[in-house]
């Protein structure tokens, strides 16, 4: 169990390091960085590499935003395997991402309960 925590830490941290390199070295904005990482996750899943990473690192691979690209691609591929080319579309519509739905839900709740804060430093 502790080894799972350590691998989650190392793999998750490493994905963040890739993001930091995008931001610092290639001077990308956070939005560019995140979009690039999502595309990266989706490509990795195309090669069948992301699921093994999740098996290995657990939350270290499911928590970073790369897993969002992975889960969409995974859903599309799973349907495509069953129904051929049309499955690519239906598979993507089938996938529900808890990240997006929870962000929407908690975003509205957050807007409802939190007031603007005093600026501090």
């Amino acid at each position: 169990m502790i080894s799972s925590l350590v691998t989650a830490f190392v793999v998750g941290g490493f994905i963040c390091v890739i993001g930091q390199i995008f931001m610092d070295v290639f001077k990308l904005t956070p939005a560019h960085t995140l979009s690039t990482l999502v595309v990266l996750g989706s490509i990795l899943d195309g090669f069948g590499l992301y699921e093994p990473l999740i098996d290995f690192a657990g939350a270290g691979a499911t928590v970073p935003i790369t897993s969002f690209g992975n889960s969409l691609t995974h859903g599309a591929l799973a349907e495509a395997e069953k129904h051929g080319i049309i499955g690519v579309l239906t598979g993507m519509f089938e996938v529900t991402s808890s990240g997006i739905s929870s962000a929407i839900l908690f975003g509205v709740i957050g807007a409802f309960i939190f007031q603007k804060r005093k600026t501090t430093y």
Partner: protein, 130 residues
């Protein structure tokens, strides 16, 4: 300071891999027949299994770095057991949750009817995706 933390973490990582293979099989009959298959697996460091007339349920602890090939290992062991027991349904999984479920069945020492129900529950659990 940083170095010592890294060393400590590495030790934890290695320590988790070096446990001896745990063998718990329940109910006891037929268990001997699983042993030779499981014993020769190099990628796992322990397993727990539950067997009744129709099903064989094996929860395995896969070594940390072999987890990349989790699906392949599961398939490999499933095939080997199926060869031995062609008349039964075999489920081999490296999932921690199933391991815990199997452990709880063993702890409770469930008998036929309840055992059957629990096994069905675990099987449906393992089929769920995302």
């Amino acid at each position: 300071m940083k170095k010592s933390i890294i060393v400590f973490l590495m030790l934890l990582l290695l320590g988790a891999c070096s446990n001896e293979k745990e063998k718990v099989i329940f109910p006891a009959d037929n268990s001997a027949s699983l042993k030779p298959i499981m014993q020769k697996q190099e990628t796992i460091h322990g397993y727990k299994s539950v067997i009744n007339e129709e099903n064989i349920l094996v929860a395995i602890n896969i070594n940390r770095f072999a987890r990349f090939n989790k699906t392949k290992i599961e398939e490999k062991i499933t095939k080997q057991i199926e060869k031995q027991f062609p008349e039964r349904q075999v489920l081999v999984t490296g999932d921690q949750k199933i391991m815990w479920e199997v452990e709880s069945i063993i702890d409770k020492k469930l008998k036929e009817e309840d055992l059957k129900k629990s096994i069905e529950k675990i099987k449906s659990l393992s089929k769920e995706e995302t």
